[in-house]
């Protein structure tokens, strides 16, 4: 089964951001950040761009499509 994996947790910790702070930066709730980090929710393209902008990285460096 194909799945979209991400490195948000690691990147967020590297930058010393809490889930709450990160949620405020990308305009979502903390529960959504938790869900995305756990892989339970795949964000929309718009949200993925916002996440990429916070980390100053390309989307494909954060999200990887694993088969």
């Amino acid at each position: 089964m194909a799945a979209l994996e991400n490195s948000i947790r690691e990147l967020r910790k590297q930058r010393g951001l809490t889930q709450e702070e990160f949620a405020v930066k990308i305009g979502v709730t903390r529960q959504t950040v938790i869900a995305i980090e756990k892989g339970g929710y795949v964000p929309s393209l718009e949200l993925a761009y916002k996440i990429a902008r916070v980390f100053n990285k390309h989307i494909e460096k954060i999200f990887t499509f694993a088969e």
Binding site: V24, G27, V28, T29, Y41, S44, L47
Partner: protein, 132 residues
């Protein structure tokens, strides 16, 4: 204000509205029930204005959409079955009121489906859906 504080205040307001409405119905005062609902809605709105953080995001909307679709499906199906049962039962036992109730409930089910279709058409159009 934290999310927890906001949730507690909102729950308290909803409880107060519920109690006020129940008391209003018991004493038969419709004005009190309507006033309670309006004041409660106003308080929820004012508290919401104080809470600056995001409460509804795309995941919440996604979850709401799934829940709404399942609720619509199950409630419409249930209403349809109950309506059919009441209509046939009323006809067999010559109970006019039971049959009428069944007809009313079937109209409610049809209204449910119509409303869903209208909203579906509206949002489908809004989010770029075409019939090509």
């Amino acid at each position: 204000m934290t999310l927890k504080g906001f949730s507690i205040i909102r729950l308290a307001i909803v409880l107060l509205i519920g109690i006020t409405t129940a008391v209003a119905f018991v004493i038969g005062n419709l004005f009190l029930a309507i006033a309670g609902l309006l004041i409660g809605a106003l308080f929820v709105f004012l508290v919401r204005q104080q809470y600056k953080h995001v409460i509804i995001d795309e995941r919440v909307l996604n979850v709401s959409g799934h829940a709404a679709r399942l609720t619509h499906l199950s409630s419409t199906l249930l209403l349809g079955i109950v309506a059919l049962f009441l209509i046939f039962s009323g006809q067999q036992n010559d109970e006019f009121y039971v049959e009428s109730l069944g007809v009313v409930i079937s109209y409610v089910a049809l209204f449910n489906i119509t409303l869903y279709a209208i909203f579906f058409h509206y949002f489908n159009k809004k989010y770029g859906g075409t019939r090509e």
